[in-house]
Symmetry: C2
Subunit: 395 residues, 2 copies
């Protein structure tokens, strides 16, 4: 066995999972590959393209495997993130987000030139006349023509143009900008992803499609074709794929999954089941009488969407996170966390000092962003270590 | 001006803050240095040593400035974190945490040997007989003698020994271990740090001192001196420093501060006022009619202790964070966030597209851990970029 290559690598290739240093981020390769296959199979009878969102994993090795299965390219949220994927060989990138400021525009033009030189492309979203004008002027000065989508606010009330008349005016502006090339609409309904009930999600996507078709119709009256309509995430993508309106879907979390997505009622009988493939491998570092303390806390996972779950151990409850610690208690037979001073038969379920458990993070995206490497496990053994190349790239 | 050195550096030395790329982590040097000075002044009339906790900042440049002002060394929570500080020249490190597992023990012995060779030391906490035995055997095999503290659970109910008889038995075991050198007690009351009222914090520290003196007395009956008693954080350190029981305090957040610590009622009239010196510099990337979207979300700050506050702009409320976005609304005159469709005079307070604001993070420690570099600002200008060398070092 070779020695670990860097201080963030938890063990040598060939070591069993149980021997890896803790805490570390691990990927169950078989579950991950099943997720990739199921996603592609689930849209095989539609005409939509699949452009997975790389913000979830920030890992070029994952993007390459998504593209090898038929994805047309990837989405990124940040221009520095996109640069990292381009440097790793990804050619077709949609920045599914607004880009404002001279430094970001300069970085985007540099990346666009790099990708166009190898027959790839960088597409950028715009939701404001000033942002469109700034990008156009810079592109003209650089002798470039940048593909652009107008972002619609289809219900999330975050970025995007909500008013259809304002959207068509912006489409017209971009269409007439010689440094820009109008390609269509970005229409991501973020809040629909975590809407628990399937019927509510369907209603949200129906409303999105209503706005999109209104904008398409009004743009067509000006002779402008909104050819691309892209959006959707893991929680709703099958609805967009079957809408007849969207041409492309952008699921991200499906490859890794997390506790929060696991709470959705998927509803559709033919919706694929995505498995947890992403885990935090952690060990018990302290064992007071009535609880176990593991070495994975707030710096090992994001708790914005709730605490992690102990994988395959329903008798254990991860009850509290502090910066470097997690407190695990034994659950009662009703599934509730035990209390201090609980009966001994519950305490007996707790893992011993030094034993390891796997945690499913509450929210995969910001959890992956804490780690520089992903430990790839196949049949219980570390077979590869993939750099999370875009970790911490925030510009 | 020289060009930025790496893709995570937001600008060149000499650029004004307003020109730095966003989002980025910035340190107000003057406020930071005032915090360091005030901490040392506040304990000048006590006999306690100051050993700041480096888990808060993970930045050797900060540790060096703390030591230059009289700190005896630093605390770390992870052995890999301690290694990063040792590699940067820090000589006296307390691992204020338990260390379990053969890989961690091997890393600790290697670091202990490195520090002892330059007249420094690595001290390690133990709270379990098996952990003490494992560390002792490994140290004996390596021909080393490792300074050890026994961690008491003085009220946090996380790690540590709560029962005084068990604590004394473990002290006795360590005292008789030829690979270990018993030094005293780790007695950090974590939950007292965020107890809002000063009287409640005083009561918590009084109870901690009661347990410590009981253990000291029982150990003394065996002829063992608990010479070192170390603990405390920013929220309570003046109480420990004045207790007559603690010999050393471990504040960390005081250098940077955050929204959560800002909520404490400090109570003591002579408690120094620590200022916010740590900020996220972020810009408005989308400006729908009734809100502003900034480019700092869950990957730019930890929200485990609540959302960030817009610094110096009480009329603005950071209302919602998603992975790469933050939604800011204008507050009403009562200080409550406005609602969608709010009157125009409130909307007029919102920053324009491209404008920047500074955010105070809810919780400094896990926020710093998201960034690889800290941008040091003095009089509005970037004067230095300090590596956050221990970022993501979790082992």
């Amino acid at each position: 066995m070779s020695q670990p290559q860097n201080p963030k690598q938890a063990g040598a290739i060939g070591e069993p999972l149980s021997a890896l240093d803790t805490p570390c981020l691990v990927l169950d390769l078989a579950a991950f590959e099943r997720n990739l296959d199921r996603l592609m199979q689930s849209v095989a009878d539609t005409k939509v393209a699949v452009r997975p969102h790389a913000k979830s994993h920030k890992c070029p090795e994952i993007a390459k495997r998504q593209i090898a299965r038929g994805a047309v390219g990837i989405c990124c949220q940040k221009i520095s993130e996109a640069q990292a994927f381009a440097d790793a060989g990804i050619n077709d990138i949609l920045l599914s987000n607004e880009l404002v400021g001279s430094k970001k525009i300069a970085a985007a033009l540099s990346l666009a030139r790099q990708l166009q030189a190898r027959s790839g492309q960088l597409t950028i979203c715009v939701d404001h006349p000033q942002a469109a004008a700034d990008l156009n002027h810079a592109a003209q000065a650089a002798g470039l023509r940048i593909p652009v989508l107008i972002e619609l606010d289809v219900g999330q009330h975050r970025c995007g143009v909500a008013d259809p008349r304002a959207a068509v005016a912006l489409i017209d502006q971009v269409h007439r900008s010689s440094g820009l090339q109008f390609k269509g609409l970005q229409a991501y309904h973020g809040s629909a992803q975590h809407t628990r009930g399937q019927a509510d999600r369907q209603a949200a996507i129906d409303r999105a499609c209503h706005l999109i078709t209104r904008v398409q119709r009004d743009a067509a009256a000006l002779g402008i074709d909104c050819a691309t309509v892209t959006g959707a995430g893991t929680g709703s993508y099958l609805l967009e794929a079957r809408s007849g309106v969207y041409t492309e879907v952008q699921p991200g979390s499906y490859a890794l999954m997390d506790v929060d997505y696991g709470r959705n009622d998927w509803g559709l009988s033919d919706m694929p089941v995505f498995e947890n493939s992403l885990f935090i491998h952690t060990s018990v570092m302290s064992r007071p009488d009535d609880h176990a303390v593991v070495d994975a806390g707030l710096k090992s996972m994001s708790v914005d969407s709730g605490l992690p779950v102990v994988f395959g151990r329903p008798e254990l409850v991860y009850q509290k996170a502090s910066d470097e610690h997690g407190v695990i208690v034994a659950s009662t037979q009703t599934g509730q966390p035990g209390q201090p001073g609980q009966p001994n038969e519950l305490v007996g379920r707790l893992p011993a000092l030094g034993q390891t458990v796997l945690l499913v993070p509450g929210h995969c995206d910001p959890t992956v962003n804490l780690y520089d490497v992903l430990h790839v496990i196949d049949q219980g053994v570390l077979i590869d270590v993939w750099p999370i190349s875009a970790r911490g790239l925030l510009f």
